[in-house]
């Protein structure tokens, strides 16, 4: 049975909509569909925005018209998308927790009735699935935060959160890619630039990848920061079977 819909989104976009549910399996179908479409090099395709359970495709109607594109996509969708090999990239993001780089670690610990060390252990023990990126360049919507450390947002959002800050907001955790305002509890900071417009690949990760946080001390933080400034640091990535 067809488990997706292709919907019109104006004269220059279509939306492929899967079952509307936040679920890792559906999200993997979205990522696999992006991959499949990319490999086809469809002329006139301008951009794709994969989200939790949909994929928006922007195209140039001067090159391909709606009816032809929908026909082409319907053919593609018949291919076995589950053919996705299941090998997943996991980015290991070093984080210096607590102290001046993570001023709200104690708030999270108090809220969970845990020690700061236990919060760090829990936060670093999951491979977080990147469901999608949005809101800011490189801002990841991660799934999988342990319920024990869910923490309400701050009552008064901060006006400026430095890039690299790692926070918890409600049931979500993530990294601020740019200096920006925000209301999440800041538990640490990574020296890694998840977004750097001057890099060949400006944004490090893609939807469908995973992030694993690794606890480092301040000396290691400074050492990595120094390596990054000299262009000599690469984020460790390993593959795992999904």
């Amino acid at each position: 049975m067809q488990d997706y819909k292709i919907l019109v989104a104006g004269d220059s976009s279509v939306l492929i909509q899967f079952e509307q549910k936040i679920d890792p399996l559906i999200n993997r179908r979205v990522a696999a569909t992006v991959q499949l479409i990319r490999e086809q090099h469809i002329p006139g395709l301008v951009d794709m925005i994969p989200t939790y359970c949909s994929l928006l495709i922007n195209y140039d109607p001067r090159v391909i018209l709606y009816d032809a594109l929908v026909e082409r996509l319907s053919q593609l969708m018949k291919m076995e998308i589950a053919a996705d090999s299941g090998r997943k990239r996991v980015f290991e993001i070093p984080v210096c927790y607590g102290g001046e780089l993570g001023p709200d670690l104690q708030i999270v610990a108090d809220h969970a009735n845990l020690s700061p060390e236990e919060v760090i252990r829990i936060h670093t023990s999951t491979d977080y699935l990147i469901y999608m990126l949005g809101f800011l360049p490189g801002f990841t919507y991660l799934g999988g935060l342990d319920e024990q450390i869910h923490t309400p947002r701050l009552p008064n959002p901060r006006l400026l959160i430095p890039a690299g800050s790692v926070g918890i907001g409600g049931s979500q955790t993530g990294i601020y890619p740019l200096d920006s305002p925000g209301g999440w509890n800041l538990i640490g900071r990574t020296p890694v630039k998840t977004y750097d417009p001057n890099r060949a690949v400006p944004i490090l990760v893609e939807a469908g990848d995973y992030i694993r946080f690794v606890s480092i001390d301040r000396a290691e933080y400074d050492r990595i920061l120094d390596l990054i400034e000299r262009g000599e640091y690469t984020v460790p990535v390993h593959e795992k079977e999904a």
């Binding site: 919907l7 019109v8 989104a9 104006g10 004269d11 220059s12 976009s13 939306l15 909509q17 509307q20 549910k21 936040i22 992006v34 301008v46 951009d47 794709m48 925005i49 994969p50 989200t51 939790y52 359970c53 949909s54 994929l55 928006l56 922007n58 109607p61 001067r62 018209l65 709606y66 009816d67 999608m132 990126l133 949005g134 809101f135 800011l136 360049p137 490189g138 801002f139 919507y141 890619p177 740019l178 417009p197 400006p202 944004i203 893609e206 939807a207």
Partner: protein, 334 residues
């Protein structure tokens, strides 16, 4: 050699058609608001289709040229003057070193464009030279222009063939009522039949919450079936989202990549310029057409652009009218 910004105006930025290819990573497209005026500005000076221009909003800038070049001014009428003398719009104009081009406030429309035959020297960041103010990248230092900024030219190009033929009929943006053609969807099914009737048969008003990111409208409440929150999905140029307050918000050039409100319809590409050239209090009606009709309109506009290109690439018949010729040629010899 380039332009010195004597006065920056209200919101003047370097823009092209936007930075695509990175939306999956949360990177919004930005780019010009009025694609048609942008394309005509470049067409008049034989620039590539996607060459960056200056876009200005409601109050235009004052620019001093430190080198000769050829420009074209399109979009809303900001009563441009060159050294105090009214300047022609939708016309290729030869600018001399030392000339001062001054724009006033928008008499018609709300956004103006000026293209340069010598190309603005701003870096290509991730495939585009447009300013993305949210991420502070691209354009001139990733921000809107300020007084005393200086932008160099990339090349010297001071000759264009058929110079006297290079003028087109200006578009008229003097409207206090517009009809926007829309393609329904992708989430029109989230609204009740009454809600959709209300949307298509009511008069809405553009509020003062209208910027490069989006335009909020006021008017009758559009009812949804079960609230209008959805699981976040992608947004395109012209998406009309209706949050729980029941009033439409149309998302524009600086829109975020994703959003969590149902989108009842999308404004047709050819009608977006009408919207972005409107001012607060303009009345808006929506009219549904099919996606095929919308694409037909887009292709027709493309043919119109080709016809414009052809029209400015043939000898000027007006050469026979001595007075007009003298007027247009004069600046070349001054």
């Amino acid at each position: 050699m380039g332009i010195r910004i004597i006065k920056a105006g209200m919101l003047t930025t370097v823009q092209d058609l936007g930075r695509t290819g990175y939306q999956a990573q949360g990177f919004n497209v930005a780019g010009v608001m009025d694609v048609r005026s942008f394309k005509i500005a470049n067409l008049l000076v034989d620039n590539p289709e996607n060459e960056p221009v200056l876009e200005f909003t409601l109050i235009g800038p004052t620019l001093e040229f430190t080198a000769d070049t050829i420009i074209a001014i399109t979009g809303g009428n900001f009563n441009p003057t060159i050294n105090g003398v009214p300047a022609a719009m939708y016309t290729a104009i030869y600018m001399h070193k030392g000339d001062v081009l001054k724009f006033g406030s928008a008499e018609t429309g709300s956004r103006g464009y000026v293209s340069f035959s010598s190309y603005l020297k701003v870096p290509n960041v991730m495939g585009s030279r447009c300013t993305n103010m949210k991420s502070s990248i691209g354009g001139f230092k990733g921000r809107k222009l300020r007084n005393e900024d200086y932008i160099s030219f990339r090349i010297k190009r001071r000759y264009l063939p058929f110079f006297l033929s290079r003028h087109l009929e200006p578009d008229n943006f003097d409207h206090d009522h517009i009809t926007l053609r829309v393609v329904m969807g992708p989430q029109d099914s989230a609204f009740t039949r009454d809600g959709i009737d209300t949307f298509l048969n009511s008069e809405y008003t553009i509020t003062n919450e209208f910027d490069r990111m989006g335009c909020r409208l006021d008017g009758p409440f559009i009812t949804s079936k079960n609230g209008s929150d959805i699981i976040s999905d992608g947004i395109c140029f012209g998406s009309i989202q209706v949050p729980s307050h029941g009033k439409p918000i149309i998302l524009l050039a600086d829109r975020q990549t994703t959003g969590g409100y149902a989108k009842i319809a999308t404004v047709c590409s050819v009608d977006i310029p009408k919207l972005v050239q409107s001012k607060t209090d303009t009345k808006v009606h929506f009219k549904a057409i099919t996606v095929q009709e919308a694409q037909h309109l887009l292709l027709a506009e493309e043919s119109e652009m080709s016809a414009m290109r052809a029209a400015i690439h043939k000898p000027c018949k007006e050469v026979l009218e001595c007075r007009l010729t003298a007027k247009r040629v004069r600046s070349l010899f001054e």
